[in-house]
Symmetry: C2
Amino acid sequence: MSVTLPVTSSATSSLPVLLVLDAEPSPRLGALAGRADVRYADEHTLAAELPRADALLVWDFASDAVRRAWPGPGPRPRWVHTPSAGVDRLLSPEFAASDTVLTNARGIFDEPIAEYVAGLVLAMAKDLPGTLELQRQRRWRHRESLFVAGSRAVVVGAGPIGLAIARTLRALGVRVDVTGRTARPGVHGAEELDELLGHADWVVCAAPLTGATRGMFDARRFALMRPSARFVNVGRGALVVEDALVTALKGRRIAGAALDVFEHEPLDPGSGLWDVPGLIVSPHMSGDTVGWRERLGEQFLDLFELWMAGKPLPNVVDKKRGYVPSHDS
Amino acid sequence: MSVTLPVTSSATSSLPVLLVLDAEPSPRLGALAGRADVRYADEHTLAAELPRADALLVWDFASDAVRRAWPGPGPRPRWVHTPSAGVDRLLSPEFAASDTVLTNARGIFDEPIAEYVAGLVLAMAKDLPGTLELQRQRRWRHRESLFVAGSRAVVVGAGPIGLAIARTLRALGVRVDVTGRTARPGVHGAEELDELLGHADWVVCAAPLTGATRGMFDARRFALMRPSARFVNVGRGALVVEDALVTALKGRRIAGAALDVFEHEPLDPGSGLWDVPGLIVSPHMSGDTVGWRERLGEQFLDLFELWMAGKPLPNVVDKKRGYVPSHDS
């Protein structure tokens, strides 16, 4: 879906008001000097500022302040951009029902996340965590490792991130099935997932968090996986019932897992997830390669140019579904 | 080079004597029942048994007993097979000068080692060691990581292992140069290595250990690398001057390294290599994926069939150079 928006001006300025949710001035926005009235808000001032903004840049994309501060009927931004792939943190029912256009950072994270997943798959196949632990103990202990080429993966999530993961794993010789909400050429429908789980050496979750996907990796689905299977989540934490994963790992129902995302981030130092045998915990960093903030800033500037010119915006989120439909790519 | 050998019989048997250097009966050799007189030797009995053997299988390929026990003039095996890629441990000057044919396990380790190297490259790019250490400390610390696609690698060693590493890294979008002893299409000559080192993000050593390559990664070559470069050795330990690597890492002349092979294996618990910052130590396991011993056994049986049939053997080592010349592949 792409949408053309009328560029509106606020009452107090001849320039459109761009509100930025961020504690500090964001990089790259200096390029908008003289073209937008750039204002900053934090989670405390956001509610008061939102009705006066023409557009909102959710630079602090880890915040859920937009969900809480979104105005009811009345003035509100015509356009909201989040420099993230997922939009679950900001989409309140009121926002979803409004005619405000929401765009995301589609495209920026695809290849970095795909590399990250490939790295996790290879690290688990070659037991790099075991090697590093033995190194710490100064112990030389040869082990046999797994050959990745010819193994099977299911990637859950048929957006650009899931498809990039599939491409990269295939480049390593992995046989990959991709599942999405509905079947399309090269993508299995959600109803085929359970059957596919029983054949997978690697199950990679890169789905958007929506009402339909929340908690989809539960005890039942972990029970469908092979004892030798390993699970990777780079989507959103709440896609996984964390307790069920811990139980599956501790009971050796599956062989290993890696989580880059969690229901509550940052993960509390007291969380039981830090030291589950066979579980790799990383701090939501899979897509964040050097220069990522600059690339996100440039992407926003490109969208801003289109918006100012009254041209259609790409990366428009279907707010009912909670993601950018893939026929739009 | 491939060579046809006359099948000779020992004085005490109508069957050819196959001597196996190994503490225990090797798998798969039961298939030779009635076709060969299979005898076993250990490093203490090898010297006495060698003159009576028609063929020698160096199943205990990590031993250097063959080098020590090789007979002078007089009876000796006509064929020696080692189920390893490198032949440096067994090639004494006397063996090299003899007309005994030496074959190796060319082909078995290529793709497993290539995957292992790709795993190390991705793990270092994504700082997986740092992530695991932070996990141990229950610390959530987001970091930016490196994007591997578009980075540059030099693979030193243009045999099938080096070429497989190059293919796999290229599949991940890495721009790869390969160097060998002499230039050929797609391979740079050894004289180009120094220049290439200055442009590489990843330097991967997969060369055979010969008189020409021993100690090739010394202080001078580490000084030619970029401060951001990372070094991986999956060849032989003695290709690297280990003290020079440690100095380069401690002085941050290069950014990181991973060694799977060492001058002395197993690495002594007291070695200073275990805890050098930025160095990953693994126990010579890069090529050893589940089923590797069975594959090595099958490869030997295939060669044995050719030998018995008087047909040319593949994988014949040029004993002067110390490896199987690549025009043979």
